[in-house]
C-alpha cells in the first residue's frame, strides 16, 4: 500500500501543488577498484549509470558523492571534474555513492504542463462524444489517477498499481482543497498553494489511507 504523490493542476494547466508522499529512498555506497567496472555517462547535467548494473546500482541511478564529497553536475565541490578523476588510477580505491534520480521542482512543473495537452488529446480522440479525458494511466510500476472537477481543476494521485480506492481519494483531496485552500482568505485562485493547514490535512489523509484503506476515511 504505497501512495507516491499528489499533484494539483490548475484550470490553465499550471502545477499549483505537489506533494511527494512515500517515495522509497534508494542509496548505495560502495568502494571501487581500478579499472571502474561500471559505465557512467554524463547526461542532463547529471552523471548516471549507463550500463553494467549490479549490487543495487541500477541503470539510470545518479552519482551523488565521491569519497563522501557531494557531486554537483559533473564536478565535485572543489571544482575537480569527476569523470576525469575516475579515469586516473592513482585515485583508486574510490568510494562512490549512487541514488535514484530525484525530480526537481522545475521538472515537475514541466511534466504537469505536459499532461495537460495529453489529457485534451485523449478526450478529442474519443470515438464517442463527451469523453472524460484520462482518468487512469497505468504502467508496470505505478498508476496515475486523474480527477477533473467541473471547474477544470485536475487532482492527480500517483500510487502503486495494487492500491485500490484511489478514485475516491482524488475526490477527498478535492474536499480538502475546497476547505483548506479556498477558504483561506490569503490564498488567491490559480496560484501555487502554500497553505500549511492544507498540507497537514492532506498528509494525515494519505497516512490513514495507507494504513487502513480508503473505507475508513
Amino acid at each position: 500500500m504505497v501512495i507516491y504523490g499528489v499533484y494539483i493542476v490548475s484550470k490553465s494547466g499550471g502545477l499549483i501543488f505537489n506533494h511527494d508522499h512515500n517515495v522509497p529512498k534508494i542509496e548505495v555506497e560502495k568502494p571501487f577498484n581500478y579499472p571502474l567496472d561500471i559505465k557512467l555517462a554524463y547526461e542532463n547535467k547529471k552523471i548516471v549509470v549507463a550500463f553494467d548494473q549490479r549490487d543495487g546500482i541500477h541503470v539510470g541511478h545518479v552519482l551523488t558523492a565521491v569519497n563522501g564529497q557531494p557531486v554537483t553536475g559533473k564536478e565535485l565541490d572543489d571544482g575537480r571534474d569527476v569523470l576525469e578523476m575516475l579515469k586516473k588510477q592513482e585515485n583508486y580505491p574510490i568510494t562512490l555513492k549512487f541514488s535514484r534520480a530525484k525530480m526537481t521542482t522545475n521538472e515537475k512543473i514541466f511534466l504537469a504542463s505536459m499532461f495537460y495537452p495529453l489529457f485534451a488529446i485523449a478526450s478529442q480522440l474519443s470515438p464517442e462524444p463527451r469523453c472524460s479525458g484520462i482518468e487512469v494511466l497505468e504502467t508496470d510500476t505505478f498508476r496515475l489517477y486523474c480527477y477533473q472537477t467541473l471547474t477544470g481543476v485536475k487532482f492527480m494521485v500517483v500510487a502503486e498499481p495494487s492500491q485500490t480506492g484511489m478514485e475516491i481519494l482524488t475526490k477527498k483531496v478535492y474536499e480538502l482543497y475546497a476547505d483548506y485552500a479556498l477558504k483561506n482568505p490569503f490564498y488567491s485562485l490559480e496560484m501555487p498553494i502554500r497553505c500549511e493547514l492544507f498540507e497537514n490535512n492532506l498528509q494525515s489523509l494519505l497516512d490513514t489511507v495507507e494504513k487502513s484503506g480508503i473505507s475508513n476515511v
Binding site: F119, R130, T149, T151, K171, A178, D179, L182
Partner: protein, 178 residues
C-alpha cells in the same frame, strides 16, 4: 476544523452569529461609502468573489454533475441554499423560454433583525447573494444575471430573487467536457 465526524453535516454555527456578522459588514460598508449605490455594487462584488470559491465546496460535498438544462441548475442552486444557509427557497415564475426563474424566500436568515432606515431605502441589503450566484455559475461555465425584484425589507410579502441565463461560456469549458 469544518469537517468532523459526519462528513456532509459540516460544523454548524448559529445563524444569528452569521446574521450579525453580515449586518456588521453592511453597516461598515455604509460608513465607508457615501453612496448607497456603491454599497450595492461592493456587496455584489464581494459575493462574486465568495461564489467562485464556494462553488468548489458545493461540488466537492455534493459530487453533483454538470447541468445540461436550466431547470437542473435551479434545483442545484436551491440545494446550495439548503447547504449553506439552511433554507429552501421555492422555485417559481418560470419564463416561457425557460431561461429565467425566481427564487422566493419566505424567511431569509441574512435580514432577520433588519429594518431599513429612511436614508438607505435603495439599499439592496442582501445584494451579496446575486454576486455569489453569478460567481459560482461562472466557474461552471455559465453566465447568468441575477437581481432582487421583491424584498421583505421593502414591505413586499416575500423576497424574490430573479435569475436569468445569459449564455454558456463555451471557450472556458475544460477539455473532456464539451
Amino acid at each position: 476544523m469544518s469537517r468532523n465526524v459526519i462528513k456532509l453535516d459540516a460544523k454548524k454555527v448559529n445563524s444569528e452569529l452569521f446574521t450579525l456578522t453580515y449586518g456588521a459588514l453592511v453597516s461598515q460598508l455604509l460608513k465607508d461609502y457615501e453612496n448607497v449605490e456603491d454599497v450595492n455594487k461592493q456587496l455584489e462584488r464581494m459575493g462574486y468573489n465568495m461564489g467562485i470559491r464556494l462553488i468548489e465546496d458545493f461540488l466537492a460535498r455534493t459530487g453533483s454533475g454538470r447541468c445540461y438544462d436550466f431547470k437542473d441548475t435551479a434545483e442545484k442552486i436551491q440545494s446550495g441554499f439548503k447547504i449553506f444557509l439552511g433554507i429552501t427557497p421555492s422555485i417559481t415564475n418560470w419564463s416561457v423560454a425557460g431561461d429565467e426563474f425566481s427564487l422566493c424566500f419566505e424567511t431569509n436568515p441574512m435580514s432577520e433583525f433588519v429594518e431599513l432606515p429612511d436614508h438607505c431605502l435603495s439599499l439592496k441589503y442582501c445584494n451579496l447573494l446575486p454576486g455569489v450566484l453569478r460567481g459560482a455559475c461562472e466557474m461552471v461555465q455559465m453566465e447568468i444575471a441575477s437581481w432582487f425584484v421583491q424584498d421583505q425589507l421593502k414591505n413586499d410579502s416575500v423576497t424574490e430573487l430573479r435569475v436569468k441565463f445569459i449564455k454558456r461560456l463555451e471557450d472556458a469549458i475544460p477539455a473532456g467536457e464539451d
